[in-house]
């Protein structure tokens, strides 16, 4: 196939996305401007309710904040893990890799139970803390933002770790020797050589983690609980309990729009990092 005709290979996916993704999305958008889900009459009521309400705006901010914190938390652990992976021998490498994909292999259903077990008042962490005499009373973890972020750190880590590992794998080990021989300390080597080169992977991971954490409806609901207020739960409640589909649609589009803006900003940053 010539270079000119190669675009045709993208057609099947493009058409499939048009039919199965864009079209439903357009219907969703149309619904948000309708009085009800049968699109009998048009109205801006849903959008007024969605955006003219401090509570919903707060939900948007909370949701974006949660995504950002999840990115931060996964990066804090994924970067060292990736560095150790880079320096490790073949066995440890394999162990880290398998650990990296493990969360993908446990069903979201059981994972929520696992986190209740770990974060609960009588859970693993509290038992450890009290056993070590660090705290005397149980520390609230379940149904707090910290607890939720900890859980999201596990759940979303593969999305951060895998692109990072791929990016670090492309670094020539001689570069590290070169830095060391030129007098670069470990810190300097990491900051000046490794991190800049890992940046595209880091940004790809950040985008995936952000999008996934911000929309992680089940984890937010079960581990975060009702005192934390995120947009996906609002969408679900409006659609499934209140049956206000126009409002649900408006909220869903708001959620998608705000996540997209951040994701686009990140990918712009990524493109810059690649070309810079």
């Amino acid at each position: 196939m010539t270079e000119n005709g190669v675009w045709r290979l993208a057609l099947p996916l493009a058409l499939a996305q048009m039919l199965f993704f864009v079209a439903p999305l357009l219907l969703l958008a149309a619904t948000s401007f309708a009085t009800d889900e049968n699109l009998r009459a048009w109205s801006l009521r849903a959008w007024r309710d969605a955006l003219g309400d401090d509570f919903n705006i707060a939900s948007v901010i909370n949701t974006l904040r949660l995504g950002a914190l999840a990115v931060l938390a996964t990066a804090v652990f994924a970067v060292p893990l990736a560095l150790v992976h880079m320096a490790a021998g073949p066995t440890l490498r394999r162990v880290i890799l398998i650990a990296a994909v493990l969360p993908l292999l446990t069903s979201v259903v059981v994972r929520t139970f696992a986190w209740i077990v770990i974060l609960g008042r009588e859970g693993v962490i509290n038992a450890t803390l009290q056993g070590l005499g660090i705290t005397s009373a149980p520390v609230p973890l379940l149904q707090t933002e910290h607890g939720l972020i900890l859980a999201l750190t596990q759940i979303e880590m593969p999305l951060m770790l895998l692109p990072l590992l791929a990016a670090l794998a492309r670094i020539d080990p001689a570069l590290l020797d070169a830095s060391a021989s030129l007098g670069g300390s470990l810190f300097r080597t990491l900051r000046k050589v490794v991190l800049p080169m890992a940046l595209p992977g880091l940004i790809a991971g950040a985008t995936l983690v952000f999008a996934s954490a911000a929309t992680a409806f089940i984890s937010q609901g079960v581990i975060g609980g009702g005192r934390l207020n995120y947009l996906p739960a609002q969408v679900w409640q409006q659609a499934m309990v209140v049956f206000d589909w126009p409002l649900a649609a408006a909220l869903a589009i708001t959620l998608m729009g705000s996540v997209l803006v951040v994701a686009a900003a990140l990918s712009l940053l990524g493109a810059k990092a690649r070309h810079a």
Binding site: M1, V6, W7, R8, L9, A10, L13, A14, A16, Q17, F20, F21, L25, L27, L28, V76, F77, P80, L81, L83, V84, R94, I96, L97, A99, A100, V101, L102, P103, L104, L105, T106, S107, V109, V110, R111, F113, A114, I118, V124, Q154, M157, L162, P163, L165, A166, A180, L186, F187, A204, L208, T215, F217, P232, V235, A249, A252, L255, M256, S267
Partner: protein, 272 residues
Amino acid sequence: MHRFTGSDRALALLILALAGCGFLILVGPVIVVLVTSFTSSRALQFPPPGFTLQWYRELFDPARSAQIHIAAGNSLMVAVLTAVVATSLATAAALAITRSRAGWARVAEGGFMAPLVLPGIAFGLASLMFFSWLRQPPSLALLVAGHAMIAAPFALRTVGASAAGLDPALLESSAALGAGPWRTFRRVTLPLILPGVAAGAFLAFVSSLDNVPVSLFLASAQTDMLPIRMWGMMETALDVRVAAASGVLVAVAFVLLLAMDRAVGLARRMSG
């Protein structure tokens, strides 16, 4: 092998400590689930009062867990089809994007990634509304299509990373040797990007297998899906078979992962 100075040693220790914590965070919940699956109690309980294989026996009992087996079969079939569909679509698109220097390729790449940021429930609801509007009742094909939309971006990412490293000269020399486009794809392109394709298929498979939001709307009585069934079992009765089923899933995926890693160095190419 490097020898570190004092501050370097402190930094190295910090990195090791964080990596250790990260490892614990990754593995801890999975261990909790696996340990729980062997509990001798009748409900999910941790730490277990004792250990037994009873729940695995019950899970594999064709009479008592027939419905779980059917749901698992459905989920597996949907996941396999999703992986096939999503990976094929994504492979073609990835080749187009990496081989084109035009500006549209960058735009298209961004567009193809969009399904990742749409909340699953919103997408599920919108899909159901759309297909009902077209008078298409929920069916296996629609379910696979919905899953494939979510899975394709993952595959696009891994295949794209592999395809980016493909030397165009190889394709040209294949064409110069008289091979048609299909033969070139089968004999040259595919073998070279296979690791990326395999990784993409694996991610697509896993993302479909564990999908709740889209399945909730697009599944029907004929396509009872495993995660939704497990959700029900877990919610009302804390059924330990949920943990056992998860244990089986982990074990199967683990074996699959090792086999694929051995075959194509999967792990190194999990993502681009």
